[in-house]
Amino acid sequence: MSRFDISGEPVDLSALRQALQDAGSGGFCSFEGWVRDSNEGRAVDGLDYEAYEDLARAEGELIIQEAIDRYGVADARCLHRTGSLRIGDLAVWVGVAAAHRDEAFRACRYIIDEIKHRLPIWKKEHYLDGDTAWVACTHVHREHEHDPVHHDRPGPPFAPDYSRQTRLREVGAAGQARLAAARVLVIGAGGLGCPVLSYLAGAGVGMLGVVDPDRLDASNLHRQTMYDARDIGELKAELAKRRIAALNPTVAVSVWTEPLHPGNVIEVFSEFDLVVECTDDMRSRYLSNDAAILTGTPLILASVYQYEGQLQVISAKPGGSCLRCLWPDEPAPGVTGSCAESGVLGPVPGVLGAMQAAEALKLLLDLPRQDDGVLFLYNLLDHTSQRLPIDAAAGCASHGSCVEVAQSAMARARGDVGLSLVFERLDDAVSAGFSLVDVRDPEEIATDPLGAPAREIPASQIVARQAEFAGRTILLVCATGRRSDHAVSFLREKGLLNVRSLAGGLNALKRSAEVSS
C-alpha cells in the first residue's frame, strides 16, 4: 500500500496507526491538522479541500521517502483529506514510527512542513459572513529548519584577505603561498574536526580532505560548532564541505563518506601533505598512525575525555616516535570511554582541535616547533598540563622500528577485511549457521530490541567473556557495525577465528528493509 493517501471521506485513524506498529520501533509520533474556526482574523465556518490528486500522491510519497531516508525512521504514513470539512474535523494526519523518539519527532515535523509547502492542495474557506475564498495551502513560503538551500545561496564575489596572518614575520607572502599549495586530510568532522577544518579553511590551506561517515545528530551540536539545527540528519562530511565553501570559497574540498580502511588508507594518505586525526574511534587512530608511518605523512593526533585532552604530533620521520611507541596495541573494545559513554564538555574538543589546527599550521609553515616525540596532556578543570617526552628507543624501536611495527599491523588489519558480512535479515544469518551475539549495551537493547534470538554480551565485556565465543560460528551485532567489527578483530588476535561481524550493524539492516519494502 502507498504510504501517502488522499481521502474524500473521514478515515479510521487507528488503522493508520496500526499499520506503523513494529517490534523494532520504540517511538511513535503523530501530528493532526484540524479545521480551525478562524483564519487571519476572519471567522471560518468550514472549508473545502481540493487536490490535484495524481501529483499530490506522487509528491506525498516522495516526501515520506525523503523523511525516512533523512532521519532513518522505520516507517511513516500520511493522510490528507479532501472535500467539505467542518470546524474540528481532521484535515491531515502524519504518523512516524522509529527506533527512538528524537528522529520520530523530526521526521514528523519534516513531513507536515513539506506537505504544507509542496502539495498541490487548495482550500476554499467559508466565512461566517457568507463570503468564501480560495487559499493556497502553499501560500506561506518560509525556510524550513531542514532546508539546505541556505547553504547554497550564491554570495558576492569573494577575495580572501589573509593580511592578519601574513603580517606575522614568520608567515608573510611566502608562508601564504605554502598554505595555498598545501593538501591536508582531516579525518573526523566532529568536535575536534570542526575547529581544525574552520581554522585551516580560514587560513587558506589550498585543499582539504574530509572523512566522516556519520550523519549529524542533535547530541553533536554542543561541541560541533560548524553545524546548526537545520543540518540534523545530514552527512557531516557534506555539511563540512558546504561550510568550508561558505567560509572560504577558494579552498578545494574532497569528501569521503565512508571510513578509510586498510585497503585504501595508504593510497589516500599519499595524496596529502599532512593528516589530522579527529575521530572518536580508536581503530581509526591506529590505522591513521600506521598509514602515516608507512607513507611518511606527518600526523597530528588528539583525543579528549570529559575535561581532558591528549595531543601528539607524529612527524613520521626516521628516528621519531608514534602512537604505538606509547600504547603498542589498540585497546580492547569498551576499555576507553567515548564522548557518548563518558560525556564531554563542549569546549574541550574545541580547545584540543584548535591546538591541532595550530600544530598543522606550524608544520605547514615550518614555524619553530618543539612538539615531535612528545605527549601533551591538558586538564581544563585545573589548568594543569604535562609535557611528556617520548623515548623512541623504548617504544617500537625495541621491536624493530615504527615502520616494521606499522607494516605488521597493517598486514593484520588487511586480513581483517572481509570479516564483516552483509545480511539483509538476521534470520538469513541464523539459517547460514551463525549464533547471534548482541554486543550493544542493555539500555540500547531495551529501546531497540534485536527481534531475533541472541546472547547479550556488551562490547565492554568481550575481553572478560572471550571464553564464551569458543566453539561456535558467531555473528556479532551492534547498532552501526563499529563495535562488532572492533570486537571481531580483537577476538581474532586472541585466536578466535570463528567470529564475524554484521556489516553496518542494525542500521544497515533497517536500510535494506526499507529499500525492499
Binding site: G193, S303, Q306, V335, G337, L375, L377, P389
Partner: protein, 80 residues
C-alpha cells in the same frame, strides 16, 4: 615507606574520584604501586593498557619508587 604524589587522568581520575593524591606506600616498583591503587580505587584498566610517567618522564613499570616522586598513569583516550 615511600611518599609519592599521584596524578590521575581520564577514567582513572573518575574512578579514583580525584585528580591527585599523596600516598605513603610500601610498593617497591611502579607496577606494585598500580596494583595497590587498582585494588583501592577499583581501576578497571590493566597496567598494560596504560603508560606511566614519573617526574614528567615516561618510565618503565619496573622502576623503583623514590620519596617525592610524582607519578602519572595515562590511559589512551579516544573521544573526539
Amino acid at each position: 615507606m615511600t611518599t609519592v604524589t599521584l596524578q590521575y587522568f581520564a577514567q582513572l581520575r573518575e574512578q579514583a574520584g580525584a585528580g591527585a593524591e599523596q600516598l605513603s606506600t610500601a610498593a617497591g616498583s611502579l607496577r606494585e604501586l598500580y596494583t595497590e591503587l587498582a585494588a583501592r580505587h577499583g581501576f578497571s584498566l590493566p597496567a598494560d593498557a596504560l603508560k606511566v610517567a614519573v617526574n614528567a618522564q615516561f618510565s618503565d613499570w619496573s622502576r623503583p619508587l623514590r620519596d617525592g616522586d610524582t607519578v602519572v598513569f595515562i590511559p589512551p583516550v579516544n573521544g573526539g
